[in-house]
């Protein structure tokens, strides 16, 4: 076993029982690393259960600033006998297994290629605390204390964190400190410390924040001016509206009247949730809902109505592992085709793919603008990994002078100026007509919104020509959408490799790491990150200027590839899929090894270019 010192490059995994208060202790650990200025990525791997089943928390610490998931556990902290066999197996050769040695470890758990660190957590708790709940909670804090000594985490950082966490409940600080200290002392008394694997303060975080994407979406909805939120609870989207609610309670209550400048309704189902959003948007409010795959399935009929009747709507889909109920607490990017073509008939929808909490914030606000500008549903596709896990992110920014784009709306004075209002008239030639809010004018501007075929004046029609004219205008609007949706990120000024890589959403983290790994092997690759659908020219050009493009996705069926092939008439053979769909975030190793295996251009050839 090598004992060479390795700083700020490790994965620590915690194995706990769901519902035992481990989440906050594990978060405390991750946040301490963050506060030491070191890039860190925590991932909660939890069951669809409230209490009793195994749950894990995986923390990657990476000096190089890689925020994707990495295989190979360096330190396993196992406080769950149920999962112990699997947990022992998952440790890397040379790694460490920290366990509760109150009871002796059964020989079947012993591997001779890893190190065991026993801490009598239960015994210590039973000795120090009499209340059973405290015994359970502080067991978690004690192992964080043990890690503090083993990894050389600065103790003062915890003092600060606990002071922040327990503001107003200061009584709780001392017992937590005590539990931490118990862990520290036990290690100091029984083991040599710190381990060769350790952390060291850096200044790599800057002004970055540690936050989850759902909170960012909720906040983005507040900043973006959403006033009506309607939703139905579903993991992993629930915390979007919860975050929205906690912010509006703080920022949206009229100081004089005490009345709310928002309304939140927990609907009876997702159909109703989207119906409410559509009703509110029709009546001129900015409105949104958040759900996950099963909810989007239910929303199909209403999405078609909003598309065809041209009503703004914002839908945040925090994707989870399907199909059906699937693995509700695991991540995937598998609602792409569902969302893109939701509902019967010829219909398609604008999609946004955020990769970071900052983008969750921005894109939610942007979605509210786009929905009103384009008068159509905008679907934000995030996923469980981005939505529910904390990510180190650039801070949220908001331009003080930013104005909401309320789109094309005639008010009473506009209506007075026009001869005859036509709700679906393409006055400006961009496919986007003007709308009016109900109640605008006593005699002008009223119209009948319908999902049945309508002419330019919103009148019912079964005339084929009228119908074609209308749906063709919707296509023109689709072209307009291409010019205003978030543009993709290119990783190079000029495309210069023969093979390129294309990714979106949370695959970004591992894809970027993989680009470095490939470059290290002499395979420098052009890359593009897609942020929205419909795809614009940059995406098309990127694909056309490469012989082969690797499309990285987190679903089985290569859904984004299908969308690219279908919408851009790309030769499918040109797009090589790298797919990950086991419910865990994709790793750089997976991407790199797949590309190396599939790449037609050997390292040597590339070096010769």
């Amino acid at each position: 076993m090598s004992s060479s010192i390795k700083v700020n490059d490790l994965v620590v995994k915690f194995a706990n029982v769901n519902g035992t208060g481990s989440a906050s202790a594990n978060y405390l650990f991750a946040k301490a690393i963050f506060r030491m200025g070191i890039p860190v990525t925590p991932k909660n791997i939890f069951p669809s259960n409230i209490q009793g089943l195994p749950t894990w928390y995986e923390v990657r610490i990476s000096e190089k600033g890689y925020y994707g998931r990495r295989d190979g556990i360096d330190i396993m902290v196992c406080v769950n006998p149920q999962s112990m066999m699997q947990d022992v197996k998952s440790v890397k050769t040379g790694g460490y297994f920290l366990y509760d040695n109150t009871k002796k470890l059964h020989p079947s758990f012993i591997r001779d290629d890893i190190n065991y660190i026993g801490v009598p957590l239960m015994e210590m708790c039973n000795r120090e605390y009499s209340d059973p709940r405290q015994r359970q909670l502080f067991k978690n804090i004690i192992y964080v204390g043990a890690l503090t000594a083993l990894l050389n985490i600065e103790f003062e950082v915890f003092e600060d964190l606990l002071a922040d966490q327990f503001q107003g409940k200061e009584k709780l600080i001392a017992p937590n400190i005590k539990a931490l200290q118990l862990g520290v002392d036990y290690i100091k008394d029984h083991y040599s410390y710190p381990l060769p694997l350790r952390v060291e303060r850096r200044d790599l975080i800057g002004d970055k924040i540690l936050v989850d994407g759902n909170t960012a979406c909720g906040l983005g909805a507040v900043y973006g001016g959403a006033t009506v939120a309607a939703w139905y609870p579903i993991t992993p989207s629930t915390s979007v509206v919860e975050a929205y609610e906690s912010y509006v309670k703080e920022f949206r209550v009229d100081p004089i009247t005490g009345q709310n400048n928002y309304a939140i309704v927990q609907a009876e189902d997702e159909l109703a949730a989207l119906g409410m959003v559509i009703g509110a948007s029709w009546n001129g409010a900015r409105s949104f809902t958040a759900t996950s795959g099963p909810g989007v399935s239910l929303m199909n009929e209403f999405l078609g109505l909003a598309y065809f009747a041209e009503i703004p709507a914002v839908l945040i889909d925090v994707q989870r592992t399907g199909p059906s109920t699937g693995m509700p607490t695991r991540t995937q990017q598998s609602d792409i085709l569902l969302a893109a073509y939701a509902s019967h008939g010829d219909s398609k929808h604008v999609l946004l793919f955020p990769s970071t909490p900052k983008e969750c914030f921005e894109f939610t606000a942007t979605a509210l603008d786009l929905a009103e500008r384009l008068q159509t549903p905008i679907i934000l596709l995030t996923d469980l990994d981005l939505g529910m896990n904390d990510h180190v992110s650039d801070p949220f920014v908001w331009d003080e002078n930013r104005k909401y784009d309320r789109g094309k709306v005639y008010d009473a004075s506009d209506l007075d100026k026009i001869e005859k209002f036509g709700r679906y008239l393409d006055t400006d030639g961009d496919g986007i007509p003007y709308r009016t809010y109900p109640g605008t004018h006593p005699t002008k501007g009223s119209f009948f919104t319908r999902g049945t075929s309508h002419n330019e004046y919103a009148g019912y029609t079964e005339d084929g020509e009228d119908y074609v004219k209308n749906v063709d205008r919707l296509l023109l609007k689709w072209e307009t959408a291409k010019t205003i949706v978030p543009a993709p990120d290119l990783y190079q000024a000029n495309n210069n490799s023969k093979e390129g890589i294309l990714f979106f959403g949370t695959s970004m983290y591992s894809a970027e790491e993989s680009l470095d790994q490939l470059a290290e092997k002499g395979l420098k690759m052009d890359a593009i990150r897609i942020k929205s659908f419909p795809f614009n020219n940059t995406v098309e050009n990127f694909i056309h200027s490469h012989d082969v493009v690797y499309v990285i996705e987190q679903n089985r069926d290569a859904q984004l590839k299908s969308l690219l092939v279908n919408e851009l008439s790309i030769d499918p053979n040109k797009l090589i899929s790298i797919l990950n769909y086991d419910g865990m975030p994709i790793t750089a190793y997976k991407i790199t090894s797949n590309i190396l295996e599939k790449s037609k251009f050997t390292i040597a050839q590339t070096a010769n270019i």
Binding site: I209, T257, A263, E400, F448
Partner: protein, 351 residues
């Protein structure tokens, strides 16, 4: 094809207090079957709005899908309308009503729309106490899909093709009452004298006002043996009382004998005047409303008129305490966006 009425206005047409003629409350020409009960209800709605001096553009009409749900095109042509999807009008109305409390929300649905596919949304609209008028044009069948039984078809009722319905009927008025609707009424499309004041009162009511209107489908469910045919309904109707609506400006002139009548004051000061009350029935008492419905059912009669009226209604906007002085649609960045400085503080909280 468009079915627009001629816009020519006769200069001598009577106007209401707001200066609007009757015509200005009408909509496009109906495309429903001649004699369809739904058309009579549309006509009653037009008349009620004219009489009530409603500003047409201050009404939002919403509906689902069905012959009944088409009717919002046939009344209030100067109001915004929304023909949504089958059974989902309540959710659209919910969202709309949260935004702008200056408008009156008028929902129209069918018995298929509300009692089957949209049952979930119907009951939740009641539960949330939307401030709206909700009319079900109830013909016991699916008119638009050619006459299949609906969930409000009575057990034993015979269809045009001769089949007998074997399932129990869902009693929408009873259900609304049970779920806490503040205003529950039942009527018959053919009884304008009763229906018009009921609609007027419902429009003035500041809570969920439900009117279940039996509205025969002449094409598919007007046969002998059907309990929703014109003949059957006329023979089996029993009214709780006669009803008048007295708007705020007018004085109550008629004098009725003590015990025979009851005046209920609505929020804006107008009155619902009930005369010749049914024995043992008090519209302010839920138990007596239930029992009146049940007694009528036992006698195989259709109880019409006002059934229940809660005098101090609440509604969703009050419950949620949403801005009542300015529609949410009119709020600007100033009221909605917490701003850059606050965002800095929020960012700091995540460090």
């Amino acid at each position: 094809m468009t079915y627009q009425r001629p816009t020519f206005k006769h200069p001598g047409l009577p106007k209401n207090n707001l200066g609007y003629t009757f015509k200005e409350y009408e909509g496009g020409l109906s495309t429903l079957c001649a004699g369809c009960g739904h058309d009579s209800i549309s006509a009653s709605i037009v008349e009620a709005c004219f009489k009530l001096n409603i500003e047409p553009h201050k009404v939002a009409k919403l509906s689902g899908i069905g012959c009944s749900s088409k009717t919002p095109t046939y009344f209030l042509g100067n109001s915004h309308g929304f023909n949504s999807v089958h059974g989902r009008m309540p959710s659209v109305a919910t969202g709309a009503s949260l935004v702008n409390q200056e408008l009156m929300y008028f929902g129209v649905s069918g018995d298929g729309d509300s009692a089957s596919i949209g049952m979930g949304q119907f009951v939740h609209a009641i539960r949330r106490n939307l401030n709206m008028v909700y009319i079900v044009m109830n013909n016991g069948c699916y008119g638009l899909t050619k006459g299949q039984d609906s969930a409000t078809a009575d057990e034993g009722s015979k269809s045009k093709a001769g089949s007998v319905n074997m399932f129990q009927a869902i009693d929408l008025a009873g259900l609304a009452l049970e779920l806490g609707a503040g205003f529950v009424a039942q009527s018959f499309s053919g009884d304008k004298t009763q229906l018009i004041p009921l609609i007027e009162a419902a429009m003035k009511y500041e809570g969920f006002a439900f009117i279940n209107v039996i509205s025969p489908c002449v094409t598919f469910n007007n046969n002998v043996g059907s309990t929703k045919s014109y003949d059957y309904v006329r023979q089996h109707i029993e009214a709780t009382s006669t009803i008048d609506f007295v708007p705020i400006q007018e004085e109550i002139l008629t004098n009725y004998k003590e015990g025979d009548h009851k005046n209920i004051k609505l929020h804006d000061g107008s009155y619902v005047m009930l005369n010749k009350l049914e024995k043992d029935w008090d519209p302010g008492d839920k138990n007596s409303a239930f029992s009146a419905l049940q007694k009528a059912r036992d006698k195989q009669e259709i109880l019409t008129g006002l059934i229940y009226l809660e005098e101090n209604p609440t509604n969703l906007n009050k419950l949620l305490n949403t801005n009542s002085s300015k529609p949410l649609s009119k709020l600007t960045e100033k009221e909605l966006c917490p701003g850059t400085k606050t965002l800095q503080i929020i960012n700091d909280g995540f460090k």
